[in-house]
């Protein structure tokens, strides 16, 4: 089996699924689908299907990890065995370990955690089907689940990747684009402040391409932020597609 490098963008600038360079895949967010978790969210983003549950703040069992002045955030990002083409072996792999760590750090910077000393906030990100961009989708859903749990945050984190395929900078790579593309740049920000909480990159980007890719991702995060607020509004205000105008923008403080 030899991978032939397919053409990912056609003459009209259309990608294989018809998107232009600056378009997101379809995204659906549902706030609060789980009964037991203190907060939860379900996201479908392209082929990605991810369930997130939040427990806490609750007493941290491992005393040596307790922080005397704040809650710690423990994200556990896990791929279901059936979430990928070749069945994933049970147990946390190194990739899942790394993503869990960087998502923990990303959220810890956003949560106003000094009200909860010596506790842990546990965020379980269960990837049910993986189709490229799971860390961004997971982080996006985790924000919603934390808000659903009533945990005070300085803002909702929205996350999205940009990348490069066929030498062009584009938004939100799908699985094939990610596999045979030239670069991937996952970004997580608080859209209301521009603070960057997640930033990774691998592949091959010039500094100008980086600027363009980052811009695409940042703009997309604004749109994703709207979807997050709509999901929360649907749950808490029984509203339709748009949140209240007078609600403080993305602020979810208790």
């Amino acid at each position: 089996m030899k991978l032939v490098k397919e053409k990912l963008i056609d003459g009209d600038g259309k990608r294989r699924d018809g998107r232009t360079f600056d378009m997101l895949r379809p995204i659906k967010i549902d706030a609060g689908p789980l009964k037991n978790a203190d907060g939860s969210a379900y996201i479908e983003w392209g082929n990605n299907k991810i369930m997130v549950g939040v427990y806490g703040p609750r007493e941290l069992q491992q005393k040596h990890l307790q922080e005397p002045d704040r809650a710690i955030v423990q994200v556990q990002y896990t791929m279901a065995s059936f979430s990928v083409e070749d069945r994933k072996k049970p147990g946390q792999g190194r990739r899942e370990n790394e993503i869990s760590k960087i998502l923990s750090e990303a959220l810890e910077g956003v949560i106003i955690s000094d009200q909860y000393p010596r506790t842990a906030i546990n965020v379980f990100i269960e990837v049910l089907e993986a189709g490229a961009g799971t860390r961004c989708a997971g982080l996006t859903a985790a924000s919603v689940a934390l808000a659903d749990a009533g945990i005070p945050m300085r803002g909702l984190v929205a996350s999205c990747a940009a990348g490069k395929i066929d030498g062009q900078v584009v938004l939100d790579l799908d699985k094939l684009e990610d596999n045979i593309g030239d670069a991937d740049l996952p970004v997580g920000i608080i859209p209301t402040t521009g603070e960057i909480v997640l930033l990774q990159m691998d592949g091959h980007l010039s500094d100008l391409e980086f600027e363009k890719a980052f811009g695409l991702a940042r703009d997309a995060c604004m749109k994703i932020h709207e979807l997050q607020r709509e999901a929360l509004s649907r749950k808490y205000f029984n509203e339709g597609e748009s949140p209240k105008e007078d609600e403080p923008d993305g602020e979810v403080t208790s």
């Binding site: 009964k35 978790a37 065995s81 059936f82 990928v84 083409e85 379980f124 269960e126």
Partner: protein, 260 residues
């Protein structure tokens, strides 16, 4: 410190049971409503999301190739796992021995029900005896827990196994074909609290139960698997009553699943 809440709860449950009632309004031998969503995971050959009351499981089936067990050289293989994910309940800690032991027991009981009923016709899944057979990995994730994972898992597995296409052509092994199925087993789980036997327990009922009995039956009303659990005892009459109920209720459940 001894937790006093369970004792109060037990009293309440027993008192209600004297009148044939339960905390959630069901009768003692009533199964909760359940819903099934099928084929939701694109990367799995079969999948289903099953909600049974407040319990939710996601079942995925991946089909691959493997070397058969040496004592069943001409049979395909089935491997069943149940994961009690932390996301599902604040008491589930997958790395703790107690959670692990619970998950293993459930997965083995679900596996026996499916295997012993012959639900999957494993003999038809042999490609080359002793060398190459089809293997079904049946993985059950518990996402939300309100009791009775035994039955929720079996039901979810039934739904996920239905209508699976074995992707033989992907492996250059001829044409794709439908996973050959036989019997459709249904499991029903009872708990005993005091003198009362209750079907399809909630998490609250399980937490105070003395004994548990799972009975898996087939279309013809034959027993295919049983498992007693917990440290309370059962009497012979408890068991024969459970078997009787299991057969009749199992048939109703089977019809509902078939309809999906």
């Amino acid at each position: 410190m001894k937790d006093i809440v369970p004792e109060l709860k037990i009293e309440q449950i027993k008192k209600l049971a004297l009148d044939g009632e339960r905390l959630d309004g069901r009768s003692l031998d009533q199964f909760r409503e359940f819903t099934i969503e099928k084929d939701i995971i694109g990367t799995a050959e079969g999948s289903a999301r099953l909600k049974l009351g407040g319990t939710e499981v996601l079942v995925g089936v991946k089909i691959g190739l493997g070397k058969p067990y040496s004592n069943k050289p001409d049979h395909g293989m089935l491997a069943t796992s149940v994961e009690l994910k932390s996301i599902a309940h604040h008491t589930f800690e997958p790395f703790q021995a107690t959670t692990k032991a619970k998950a293993i027991e459930i997965s083995r009981v679900v596996d026996r029900g499916i295997r012993e009923s012959g639900m999957i016709d494993l003999e038809k899944l042999c490609m080359e005896p002793g060398k190459k057979v089809w293997m079904a990995n049946l993985d059950i994730m518990v996402l939300d827990f309100d009791g009775n994972i035994f039955d929720a898992s079996t039901l979810g597995a039934l739904a996920a196994l239905k209508d699976i296409i074995v992707p033989a052509s992907n492996f250059d092994l001829g044409e794709d074909f439908q996973l050959p199925l036989g019997e459709m087993p249904v499991s029903t789980t009872f708990v005993k609290i005091g003198d009362h036997i209750m079907l399809d327990p909630t998490a609250t009922e399980e937490a105070v139960a003395d004994a548990r009995l799972t009975v898996t039956t087939d279309t013809l009303g034959n027993l295919r698997a049983m498992q007693k659990g917990l440290s309370g005892v059962l009497y012979y009459e408890d068991v024969t009553k459970a078997i009787k109920d299991s057969i009749s209720i199992g048939n109703m459940i089977r019809e509902t699943v078939r309809g999906n």
